[in-house]
């Protein structure tokens, strides 16, 4: 079985071809517009508006993925696409493209929730994942803990009440003039920083729930940078990066451990762009291993942490068994799609 995955929920335009045989995943191609060589050829000047770039990139990216996978469009069995959540103008490009392909080729269309796909991406490595699992999704737009009964049954148990953790990284990076995206910039500097140098709050860490808050942490960093004692020297900046990152990591881990304690899952799954953060990966593993040695930990390869289409095709695979056929005329992009 071959599944074409399409993902255009935000700034990236992505396509992938996934082959699944006897439940084994074999990723034949996985392209993201900002990386493929054709970018210069087709994209030229990168336009300000993400959606316009999506329109220019979507067909070249799909073509590149098919070519790399040595697969003809007619040999694809299922077309899958992110139908939300995300930026509506960007989502529409992927959804309408997928609907057209599905209609013209007469192949079934599978809409995928972007969020659960981030977690199911862990299946791409073909390791056996036992359910139930607790999943942590960390990205620029989302921060949530999910209880996963199986690949098609899940529910949110907690989420951010204001900013997403990735957004906090971006905004703190902006305050410190570190550029965009902020996550990699901060984690790189933090390596040589002293994480105990600045005392920052751990918002909501004591609350007996699975919710998060990062807005107050961002404001605490703002106050620090405006304090006269803060001279924005190189050392102070890297210490602040390390302290801020540790505050985020502490809250994420603490709530994750609380969820594991309560729901006693067999596995833990991490997903989303911030899952690329080296400290988060390292400390999550250490802490879960120490407190709950029986829980199997799944952390996606770096290339599957950011938005990608391989995860969309993977999530779609688990929906191929659904009997209900999707009416392509009725399918619409849903920017506020929930889990």
């Amino acid at each position: 079985m071959k599944i074409l995955g399409i993902e255009t929920s935000c700034d990236e335009t992505a396509a992938a071809v996934l082959k699944v045989e006897r439940g084994k995943f074999n990723l034949l191609s996985n392209n993201v517009s900002s990386q493929i060589k054709t970018h210069a050829k087709y994209g030229g000047i990168v336009p300000e508006v993400a959606a316009r770039m999506q329109i220019e990139m979507i067909l070249p990216v799909i073509q590149e993925s098919l070519k790399e996978a040595k697969t003809k469009l007619k040999d694809i069995d299922y077309i899958s696409v992110t139908n939300g959540p995300g930026l509506v103008t960007s989502l529409v490009v992927g959804v309408e493209t997928a609907k057209t392909l599905s209609f013209v080729l007469n192949k079934p269309l599978i809409p995928v929730n972007h969020l659960i796909a981030h977690l199911l991406a862990n299946h791409l490595e073909n390791k056996k994942i036992s359910y139930p699992a607790v999943g942590l999704i960390v990205s620029g737009g989302h921060t949530m803990l999910v209880l996963i009964k199986n690949e098609s049954k899940y529910k949110i148990i907690g989420e951010t009440q204001d900013d997403a953790v990735g957004e906090a990284f971006d905004k703190v990076a902006k305050m410190l003039n570190l550029g965009y995206p902020g996550g990699p910039a901060i984690s790189k500097l933090a390596i040589n920083g002293d994480r105990d140098k600045f005392k920052l709050p751990r918002p909501m860490i004591q609350q007996q729930n699975y919710n998060f808050s990062f807005s107050g942490l961002k404001t605490a960093v703002l106050y620090l940078t405006q304090n006269k004692k803060f001279k924005k020297t190189k050392q102070q900046t890297i210490d602040l990066c390390a302290s801020f990152q540790q505050a985020c990591v502490d809250v994420l881990i603490s709530k994750t451990l609380r969820a594991i304690k309560e729901y006693k899952p067999k596995s833990f799954l991490l997903g989303g762009g911030v899952a690329a953060n080296p400290e988060l990966r390292k400390q999550l593993k250490e802490k879960i291993n120490k407190k709950f040695p029986k829980v199997k930990i799944f952390i996606p390869e770096l290339r599957f942490t950011g938005d990608n289409a391989a995860m969309i095709a993977t999530a779609a695979y688990f929906k191929t068994k659904d009997k209900k056929k999707i009416d392509i005329k009725k399918l619409k992009a849903n920017p506020n799609l929930s889990l």
């Binding site: 935000c10 508006v49 509506v88 103008t89 204001d162 997403a164 807005s215 404001t219």
Partner: protein, 143 residues
């Protein structure tokens, strides 16, 4: 013009609630102020006034989040917009900014609104946020 000195998040929310009382529907609020000056907390205050149960989370990533209002009044929806990531108003126009603004059943709250000043109506209520002298203080100016 009205000026407030808020000493806490709770006070910022209270100021928002007092303004919300005067709304008739169709108002557009342009919130202007740097990161961490209370724009989102102000919006949370509006949401509390309209008894919106869902947490008002940052719309930075998706640009726009609509919230249904179930109160027995003419105002049916709070539309929370964030222009932080925007360089031009184009993208917001594409997702129907004008339709949201024209609908008199909506209250449209826009953070970083100065970035799209050109496309906002003349009667937009402009609200400026600034850090005060002490850490938790904020200066809020309403035009």
């Amino acid at each position: 013009m009205k000026q407030y000195a808020s000493k806490s998040v709770t006070e910022t929310k209270k100021i928002a609630k007092n303004i919300a009382k005067t709304f008739k529907g169709g108002e557009v609020l342009g919130l202007v102020g740097n990161l961490g000056t209370g724009k989102t907390h102000f919006t949370k205050g509006l949401a509390e006034y309209f008894k919106i149960q869902k947490a008002i989370t940052s719309p930075t990533f998706v640009l726009l989040k609509p919230y249904k209002i179930n109160k027995d009044i003419n105002i049916k929806q709070l539309v929370h917009i964030d222009c932080y990531r925007l360089n031009s108003p184009e993208e917001l126009l594409a997702i129907g900014l004008n339709e949201f603004i024209k609908d008199k059943r909506n209250i449209v709250v826009i953070e970083w609104a100065e970035k799209i000043k050109l496309v906002l109506p003349k009667d937009t209520i402009w609200i400026n946020f600034k850090l005060g002298k002490k850490e938790n203080e904020r200066e809020i100016k309403i035009k």
